[in-house]
Subunit: 227 residues, 2 copies
């Protein structure tokens, strides 16, 4: 599958690298590919520069957002939740992303008042639903937003991989395609929560996750639904 | 410990019955004890009437709210979240609940527009914090609000008891007392999330729980934090 990943941060890199490793045709979409590829400094947390990362993942194309939109059968939204709508609009270009699968892994976290972040949308709406309303002819599926990027692409890193990933969406076939991608990554407990409004719950769940990290002293954590 | 449980519904009964079984001195607080004890009809879901339940739990006193407030060293808020503040005020009577431990297991779920419920408070505030602000000289601890009442008092019912209960609160000693109560019930994975504002997360987590129940076809579920 042609997969365009929007977002050059740790989440976008982790997913693009994993899908590439799995044999998909992968592009990372970014506003300015030249500037992205020219960035050679590590970030404040010591993460490799994009150039350094790309040197180890040369199979991943780096495309301007509209080109990424044209390329991808699936478009993975790994941008910051506060700019996701804008990024998707740029990705659509003159089109409407009709028939595309949008895999939304972002969270509408607002850090503008510091820690803990607040949620820019919640309870009666969700980022995923905002994206679906903006692109009614695309199929939005919410998933993977409830854990750190390292766990997203390597569930076996904790608890023998015995923990849960959620999928939410209004389109059964799209959820099935996402479920297959998740299984390829190695996910075993994939819970279909129902329609896209169930993303309200999983986006709000992140408010517990951000407090668990300091409480437990690690971000290598995930929710398991015991039943 | 003298424990007053506010709320005559399934949650209040489950907790009062369990604390009684564990050897605590337990009272259920209700607005009108006579009316509560006179109710002999099963509810719409077929649950026993209060009178029937009380016949099997005669060790549990039934007190008017102010009497329950005077009786309890610990006051367990098992009322509906939308009326919790009002119930606590009635429980305080002419006092301020100073020095009392308030164990808040309620959720601010608003079903007035049907299913799914919305949250009457969220994100930047929580029911637990509202209670703490209303009774600044009491020690509020949020816990047990992320699961069904049957699991609250019998964690071993699923997954061999290997799943998580959270505690949030501003008072270390109060959290320690609650932790001991939870251990008596049989909880093994008790995660101290931090100060009371972390209850925002666990109250919002219930928005996932309410969607998991229809998705999985059971309410015998709980979150486990895998790490």
């Amino acid at each position: 599958m042609n997969i365009a990943v929007l977002g050059t941060g740790q989440v976008g890199r982790a997913l693009a690298g994993k899908f590439d490793e799995l044999g998909h045709d992968v592009a990372i979409g970014t506003r300015d590919p030249e500037a992205t590829l020219a960035s050679t400094e590590r970030d404040a947390r010591g993460n490799p520069s994009f150039a350094e990362w790309h040197g180890q993942h040369e199979g991943v194309e780096v495309l301007a957002l509209p080109d990424a939109g044209a390329f991808g059968e699936a478009i993975v939204n790994a941008t910051s939740g506060l700019v996701s709508l804008e990024a998707l609009r740029a990705t659509a270009g003159d089109g409407d992303l009709a028939g595309k699968l949008i895999v939304d892994v972002a969270n509408p976290l607002d850090f503008s008042t510091g820690f803990p972040p607040t949620l820019a949308v919640k309870d009666t709406d969700s980022l995923a639903e905002q994206l679906q309303r903006a692109f009614p002819d695309a199929d939005v599926v919410k998933t993977l937003n409830t854990m750190n990027n390292a766990i997203m692409v390597n569930p076996g890193a904790i608890g023998g991989g015995d923990h849960t990933v959620f999928v939410s969406g209004d389109h059964a076939q799209a959820k099935q395609r996402v479920t297959e991608l998740l299984e390829q990554i190695g996910w075993r407990d994939i819970v279909d929560l129902g329609d896209l409004s169930t993303a309200r719950g999983t986006e709000m769940l992140v408010a517990t996750w951000v407090r668990l990290v300091p409480a437990l002293g690690t971000n290598a954590i995930n929710f398991k639904i015991v039943r």
